[in-house]
Each structure stands twice: as structure tokens, then as C-alpha cells.
């Protein structure tokens, strides 16, 4: 038999396979945007300190300096100095931690009633200066600038300068910076990416308390269900746990969170990974810093398959209860216990804010680049529903406002548990540069919409049948012209917390605008102002009799007389307060200057008479 034709055909196929297919696939290679080149630059030894992050809480300063890699033979000691009467005085020194090149300082008995210039010093040459702010307890309005999703890829504008963000933070003189996650998108080179983050944002970070929550991409994976430190092997990591070794995750958390106030429950999880959930009290705002990924259960193999990925539900006819499986955890008991204590503790606090990676609902319908409709996404905090409801039940007891990111889609939601709008509000900020597009686009118009508002607002059920009420969504264009930054709904958030009026104002700004320019426009739906007390004001509730106190702004607690359950605790604004409460029940009201230590009403009911209360 003549084999020549076979040989020729075989060789042709081989050539086609190895050469032509990738060539066809690369047909637009010349137009393919550049990828970011992420390397650690060589720096002068005088520039070896890249940036520094700090918080001050309960008279303890914690500051972490981030260094470039040191050379062999260089000192591993770093000093922290404070300017006092024109002289630099050393207040702490520490050794550089490897891997990661962080220098964590801790200074107790810190006087937070005045601002202090500081400098971090390494060797004889390298210094890095900034300002430790005074605790802004005398300010009426605390400004928190919020960011998420710091992609550096040029394809969607990630290589465009962050100078607009720096300028705007300075213009609004933000008191706190909040980076909700994905500060780093590189899954293998956190140090190099974190140093770039420091070069981009260090100028504003060095002068104000900053909170960075590591999210999935920060720890080197596309999605994260941490499952208390389990090891994940499944592509996509929906089996729960961490893809990268524990030592990598530990390095990430050292870099991003070691300057946080001490964790309230510091026990480690699997692989020696620490925890950082805690609270930061600053300017009479009590921030709960949560880790909504670390303990969360992975869905793969635990819930019935409902879509093309273990964490995606495409079938709109599925039974939402079928995925709310026993044993599935969201925040975990340790964080819930912390939140329960935090909700009742109003020392030096007028308002409460919960900070976490993402929001407590499925906050998008279309995922990817117009990539079809996804009924529900278990990467969101809408799943597991029982865990979501427990978190919201705890947070609303403190009238906590929720500030988060992750979704790549800015939204405002008022969450519901038993009825629409009976729990807290959340603001999800837009991405700094948007890697992955999402849209909030329900098929049915929302119920009870505000007059003139878009059909996507109003009361809805998310893909897990959670009750949500949308007030704004910065949906990107379907076919983005230019496909960078604002056409992809990039931007940042500002939250203004007024401790006198108890109002919370949410602002959502596109990139490259001047927020102080009166002609600058926010995304549609913003700004929106709510009251602190809107965070737990179910529509079905009534009002108890007005209470008038003889002290200013005491702490009030409402307790169900039959079950002894605490409904909520809050520091009221001023001397009068009209508590909201469920109808047809009897309540005990406790109050006190800084803690609800005194029973002031034993049998309060909706529609009851006004009362005067003495707490002196």
C-alpha cells in the first residue's frame, strides 16, 4: 500500500495543529492590548521604604511599613520616629518580616488628641514620612472614601494613572480610606503588585487610617470560600479553601492587615492562617471589620448542580431552598459572636458601619462581558441564605450601615429578611478599574419604586429569594465604547457619616472627575442620603411612646419582654427618641449614658404614651 498520501496528510495536520490554530486564534494579536508587566523595580537604598499604613484604635497606634526587598547584609531593623518639638524621637523599632518585607510597629498609650508627624527609618539613608491624624471626634462629618477592584491590566484602563483618585481624596480630605478587596489581581506575585499599589496610593494612605481587606484575588484565586483555611484543589476553588499555600496567604494578610487593631478573637484557622476581624473606632464611628470569605463554605459538591459552574445557578426555576443546605456557613459563629457584642457596645460611638468584602445579596443578574443571565451567584453573600439572614439580623441590631465592594458594579440596596426593607442598607462601590462587567437588570420591574426611578429599582427577590430593594445601580454600557474606566462603570465611593444629624450620604463617582466641581456628575442614583435609623426600621413596625432624657445622646436598648431578646441597641441623637418596635408585643427599654444599664420602661407598647427619663 502506498503510504505517501497518509504521510503527507499527517504532516499537514501536524503543521495545521501546531501552527495555524494558534495563529488564527491570534488573528487580532496586533490589536490585543498590552498586558501589565509586573516586576519589583530596583530602587535606590534611600527609597527602600515603599509606603506605610496605619490605624489608631483605643489609644494604640499600629503602623506597618512596606519595604522593597532588602539586600543581603543590610540591616533588618526599621525604626519609627515621631516629630516632637522639631526633633525626631524614636518611639518603636521592629524587625522586617520575611517573606513579604513588612515592618509592623505597635505603639501603646498613643495620644490621639493631636496629630503627629512620623517617619519610618531604615539604615542611614531611607526615610518615609507621613502624618498620624488626630482622632476626629470633634468633626460632625466623617468621610470614608471607598475603593475596590484595582486591576492594573491595560485592556480596560487599569494602566491609567490613579492621580484623579489621589486628588479627590485630598479634596474631600477623607478621614478613612477603605479598600474592600482585590487591591492585587496577580495570583502569584502579591509582593510586586502590593508594592505597585503602594506606589499608586501611598501618598494618601500615609496620612490617614486605611483599611484594606484582602479578597479572593489578593490571596491568589478567582473566588474565595475560605472554609476556615481548608486547602482547595478544584479549578475555580468552589470546593472551598485556599488555592495558594497557607504561607502565601499569611504573607498577604501581613501586608494588608497587620496594621489593623488587634483581632478580637485571634485564634488561627487552618494552614496557620490568622484572622483579622475586629473593630476600629475613629471619629465616633465604630467600624466592624469583617471577613466574609474566610469562614464561608464552598458550594461545590454540597448543593445540587444548577448551572455551568458549581457556584453559578442558571436555572430560574430551581428551588432556592434546595441550596440553603445545613451546615453551610457565611460569617461563622466567631464573627457572629463578635458582632453581637459589637452591636451592644456604644462606648465612644455615635454610628456603626460594617466593612466587608461584598454585599449580603446577589447584587447582579448579568455577569461577565454581557455573558448571559446568571440567576444566582454563590460567590455573593446572598448564599447561604440562612447565614446571610443571621448576619443581617445581627448587624441591624446596631443600625449598622454596610460598606463593601467586590461586585464590579456599584449598587445601593436596602436589605430585607422577613419583609422588604426590614434590615440594613448597603453601598457597594465601583471598581477602580473594572476587570469584569456585571449588570443589575431584573426581568421584572421592581415593586414600590420611588416615582420616576428606573424599573430596575424597587423591591425584588434576588436569585436566592432574598428580599432586596434596589435604589441605584451603576450599570455599564452593554457594548462599552472605548472599553476603559467609565464606560465600564469604574469609579469610587464616598460615604459621609454625620454624627450630629445621624445621616449617611452615599456618593458614587466616576473616574477622572473633580468631585468639588459643581458640574461633575455622579452615577445615576447617587447621591442618596439615609438616616442611621433607616438601618432597622421595618415597614410593619409602629412607634413606642416618645422618650425624653435628661442627658444628651444616651444609649438605648429595646428588649422583648417575653423572649428577653435584644431587638437593638443604639446611641440616640439628642435627648428625645421615639423607638420603633413590632406591634402587639411588649418591650423593656434600657438606657444609660454609655451603656444600657438601667431599665427605664418595663412595658412599652406601640402607641404608648410619651415618658421622661432621668439618667443623671
Amino acid at each position: 500500500m502506498n503510504l505517501q498520501p497518509y504521510k503527507t496528510a499527517g504532516l499537514c495536520c501536524l503543521v495545521l495543529l501546531l501552527g495555524l490554530t494558534p495563529a488564527i486564534a491570534q488573528q487580532n494579536a496586533q490589536r490585543r492590548p498590552r498586558r501589565a508587566v509586573l516586576e519589583i523595580p530596583e530602587v535606590e537604598r534611600s527609597e527602600v521604604i515603599c509606603f506605610a499604613l496605619y490605624t489608631v484604635h483605643d489609644n494604640t497606634l499600629k503602623l506597618t511599613a512596606q519595604l522593597y526587598p532588602l539586600q543581603s547584609g543590610e540591616s533588618r531593623t526599621v525604626r519609627l520616629e515621631i516629630e516632637t518639638d522639631g526633633n525626631w524621637v524614636e518611639v518603636a523599632r521592629t524587625n522586617v518580616v520575611e517573606p513579604g518585607w513588612t515592618a509592623p510597629f505597635r505603639v501603646e498609650n498613643w495620644d490621639d488628641t493631636r496629630a503627629s508627624n512620623y517617619r519610618v527609618v531604615h539604615g542611614a539613608e531611607a526615610t518615609y514620612e507621613g502624618v498620624i491624624r488626630k482622632n476626629p471626634v470633634d468633626k460632625d462629618e466623617i468621610v470614608v472614601a471607598g475603593f475596590t477592584g484595582n486591576s492594573i491590566q491595560p485592556a480596560h484602563g487599569g494602566d491609567i494613572s490613579r492621580q484623579d483618585l489621589i486628588d479627590n481624596v485630598r479634596k474631600v480630605d477623607a478621614d478613612v480610606l477603605f479598600f474592600s478587596g482585590d487591591q492585587v489581581y496577580d495570583h502569584n506575585k502579591h509582593l510586586a503588585a502590593w508594592l505597585k499599589f503602594g506606589r499608586d496610593f501611598g501618598d494618601i494612605i500615609k496620612d490617614r487610617p486605611t483599611l484594606c481587606l484582602p479578597d479572593d484575588h489578593d490571596v491568589g484565586q478567582p473566588n474565595l470560600w475560605g472554609e476556615s483555611g481548608k486547602i482547595s484543589t478544584l479549578s475555580g476553588n468552589a470546593d472551598g479553601g485556599y488555592r495558594q499555600p497557607g504561607i502565601y496567604v499569611q504573607e498577604v494578610e501581613r501586608a494588608q492587615t497587620s496594621h489593623f487593631p488587634d483581632p478580637v478573637d485571634p485564634g488561627k484557622i487552618g494552614q496557620g492562617i490568622g484572622v483579622y476581624f475586629t473593630n476600629l473606632n475613629w471619629g465616633n464611628i465604630d467600624f466592624a471589620i469583617l471577613e466574609d470569605r474566610k469562614f464561608k463554605t464552598g458550594p461545590a459538591g454540597r448543593v445540587p448542580k444548577q448551572g455551568p459552574r458549581p457556584d453559578h445557578i442558571r436555572n430560574p426555576d430551581y428551588d432556592p431552598d434546595s441550596v440553603d443546605v445545613d451546615g453551610a456557613i457565611l460569617l461563622g459563629q466567631r464573627q457572629l459572636d463578635f458582632l453581637d457584642r459589637w452591636a451592644q457596645d456604644w462606648r465612644d460611638a455615635s454610628m456603626k458601619v460594617a466593612l466587608s468584602q461584598t454585599i449580603f445579596c446577589g447584587g447582579a443578574h448579568i455577569h461577565g462581558s454581557a455573558n448571559g443571565r446568571l440567576h444566582a451567584d454563590m460567590d455573593s453573600n446572598g448564599w447561604p441564605q440562612t447565614g446571610r439572614n443571621r448576619a443581617l439580623q445581627t448587624l441591624r441590631k446596631a443600625f449598622a450601615f454596610h460598606y463593601a465592594g467586590d461586585q464590579h458594579l456599584a449598587t445601593i440596596f436596602h436589605h430585607g429578611i422577613d419583609e422588604h426593607r426590614d434590615a440594613i442598607w448597603s453601598f457597594c462601590v465601583p471598581s477602580i478599574a473594572n476587570l469584569y462587567l456585571r449588570w443589575w437588570e431584573p426581568l421584572e420591574p421592581g415593586q414600590n419604586r420611588e416615582p420616576g426611578s428606573p424599573e430596575y429599582t424597587g423591591d425584588h427577590l434576588d436569585g436566592f429569594a432574598n428580599k432586596v430593594t434596589n435604589y441605584a445601580a451603576a450599570n455599564p454600557e452593554k457594548m462599552p465604547a472605548g472599553n476603559v474606566l467609565n464606560t465600564r462603570s469604574a469609579g469610587f465611593g464616598i460615604v459621609r457619616l454625620n454624627t450630629q444629624t445621624r445621616q449617611i450620604t452615599m456618593e458614587c463617582w466616576p473616574r477622572n472627575v473633580d468631585v468639588t466641581d459643581p458640574s461633575a456628575k455622579q452615577y445615576p442614583g447617587w447621591p442618596r442620603t439615609i438616616s442611621q435609623f433607616d438601618n432597622y426600621n421595618p415597614p410593619s413596625w409602629g412607634k413606642l411612646g416618645e422618650l425624653t432624657f435628661d442627658v444628651d445622646s444616651p444609649v438605648v436598648q429595646l428588649v422583648d419582654r417575653d423572649s428577653n431578646e435584644i431587638l437593638y441597641t443604639v446611641r440616640i441623637a439628642g435627648k428625645t427618641f421615639v423607638p420603633a418596635a413590632p406591634k402587639d408585643k411588649t418591650f423593656i427599654i434600657k438606657a444609660g449614658k454609655d451603656a444600657p444599664e438601667t431599665i427605664v420602661v418595663k412595658d412599652a407598647k406601640v402607641g404608648g404614651a410619651a415618658q421622661s427619663v432621668s439618667l443623671k
Binding site: L17, T21, T233, Q244, P245, V303, P308
Partner: protein, 296 residues
């Protein structure tokens, strides 16, 4: 079977490897979804669709329904199923079936390219799929040219080298070692990170040594045998590390296909090992086959 007897076993090995590879990917496409998103959701793809006359809504869907992309991604599993069947039915004279398998190689190449793009265009990610991409071609070559033909053998060696060089580059750390390499090592062997790193580095060196050894006549049989064993172990590592009694279907629907579709990683080295058996071993094998045929 119409393959000549000396090559019956090696070709059966190729058939099995190609069958499992396509079967695994059929499962991925049918039960889950092909990983094409990274290729499809690009400006260039939209432009191409527009040039082909598809409107935006037709291409991506209106949001309320699926567009061209979702519909066709959901149908691709038929092609993989067809290729799976062809690995069983293909014969030396069946041109159409051979052409189908060649096209199947193209499909697998596209998948490998998608993985490469998704991995930030890390070269080893494309290279390590060499075994999967090439096994249908090697099967066609083995049938058309003969299992021992130098083109067939050279292609099989290239496939083996691609697979092990890709793995080796990752394991040694020339490119960042994927986290799941550490994860599987730690879970299966119960070792700490530092030990896992040493083991991976060692395995990486051996991977590259195999790439060299397979080209050296005195070492090629040992190299092929080691590659068979290591290819098998790494293929089954995913279900071994990930499956659990506590999961639905013990996690089989999540992990098992990950092992099955990697069958070429051990099937191709085994094919080479069987080809390169010493004459004495071949005679024994042929004798057994003959006896078996007589009994039937």
C-alpha cells in the same frame, strides 16, 4: 481490530488515551461548560461577530435569553462526543473518521489555547497540554502510517516532551508554581509547605530529565516507564485530593473528569514503552495474544 498484531497493544493504548481524553472533555462540555469565555468575551471576537453579520443582541443575548455564544457553547459537547466515539470506531481505511479526529485535535488545541490565555499567556500552560492536543493525531498516524513509523513515534515523543516540560517548568518554579500543585501534594501526602516544595522541585527536575531521557536510546524505555507512572499519578491526583464521602456523589462529578481527560499524560508514554519493548517481551506478548485468539 485490523491493526497488525505487534502494534495492537500500543494502538489500543492510544485509543484508550484518546477515548478518555475526549470523554472527559465531553463531560466538561455537557455537564459543566467549556472554558471559552476568555476567548469569546473580547473586543476582537465582537468585531468578528459583527463582520459575520451578527447583531450585538444576537451574539450575546438580550439578557432575557441566550445569544449565539451561549447557545453554541451549550452544543459543543456533541462534537466531543462524536470524537469520543471515533476513537473507538476509527480504522486504518476510514478517512472520514480520521479527519474527524484531526478536527478533534483542533478542538483540543483551542481548549489549550483558552487555558493559555486564561493563565495570563504563560507558555507552559499551552505546552503542557501537548499530550491532550496530539493524542488524536498520534492515533490517526499510528493507524495510517503504523505505530512504529518514525513520524508517529516522533510526534508521540514531542507530545510527551510537551506535557512533561510544561509540568516541569511549573514544578521547578521557572514560572510560578500553581497553587493547586502545592495543594494536591499537601493533601495527598500530608506534608507541610516546605516539604511539598522540595517534592515539587524534585518532581520538576525529573520531569525535565524525562524530556531528555526519552530522546536517548539507552534511557528511553526507563523514561517512558517513569513517565507512564508519573503521568498516571498526577492525573489521578485531583480526584484523590478532592473527592470526599461528604460531598454529593462523593464529589465525583467535580473531580473525576479532571483525571479522565488527562489520560494522554500516561497513555502516550505507555504507548512508547510498549513500542520499545525488547524483542523477547514482544514475542511473549504476541504468543499470549495468539493463544488467547485460539481459545476464542
Amino acid at each position: 481490530m485490523n491493526e497488525s498484531n505487534p502494534h495492537r497493544l500500543p494502538i489500543a493504548c492510544l485509543r484508550l488515551g484518546a477515548f478518555l481524553c475526549f470523554a472527559g472533555w465531553t463531560w466538561v462540555h455537557y455537564y459543566w461548560e467549556g472554558p471559552y469565555g476568555v476567548l469569546l468575551w473580547q473586543d476582537a471576537t465582537y468585531d468578528l461577530a459583527t463582520r459575520l453579520g451578527l447583531s450585538w443582541d444576537e451574539f450575546v443575548g438580550t439578557g432575557a435569553d441566550d445569544g449565539f455564544v451561549q447557545k453554541w457553547i451549550a452544543r459543543i459537547w456533541w462534537l466531543y462526543l462524536a470524537c469520543t466515539l471515533l476513537t473507538i470506531t476509527v480504522r486504518k481505511t476510514s478517512w472520514v473518521q480520521m479527519s474527524g479526529l484531526v478536527l478533534g485535535s483542533g478542538l483540543l488545541t483551542l481548549l489549550s489555547y483558552a487555558s493559555y490565555v486564561a493563565a495570563q499567556r504563560q507558555l507552559p500552560m499551552f505546552i503542557e497540554h501537548g499530550g491532550q492536543m496530539l493524542i488524536p493525531l498520534i492515533l490517526v498516524m499510528a493507524l495510517a502510517l503504523g505505530a512504529g513509523h518514525r513520524v508517529t513515534v516522533t510526534t508521540a515523543v514531542i507530545a510527551l516532551i510537551m506535557t512533561f516540560a510544561g509540568h516541569g517548568c511549573y514544578a521547578i518554579g521557572f514560572w510560578p508554581t500553581p497553587g493547586n500543585f502545592y495543594a494536591m501534594t499537601t493533601l495527598i501526602l500530608g506534608v507541610e509547605y516546605s516539604t511539598a516544595q522540595v517534592l515539587l522541585r524534585t518532581a520538576g527536575v525529573l520531569d525535565l530529565a524525562v524530556c531528555v531521557g526519552i530522546c536517548i536510546p539507552y534511557l528511553r524505555r526507563a523514561s517512558a516507564l517513569y513517565a507512564t507512572a508519573w503521568g498516571f499519578l498526577t492525573a489521578i491526583a485531583r480526584p484523590v485530593a478532592g473527592m470526599s464521602w461528604g460531598l454529593n456523589y462523593w464529589g465525583a462529578d467535580q473531580f473525576l473528569h479532571e483525571s479522565v481527560l488527562r489520560a494522554p499524560h500516561f497513555a502516550i508514554p505507555l504507548f512508547l514503552f510498549l513500542l520499545w519493548r525488547k524483542p523477547g517481551e514482544k514475542k511473549v506478548s504476541q504468543g499470549r495474544q495468539g493463544a488467547s485468539a485460539e481459545l476464542h
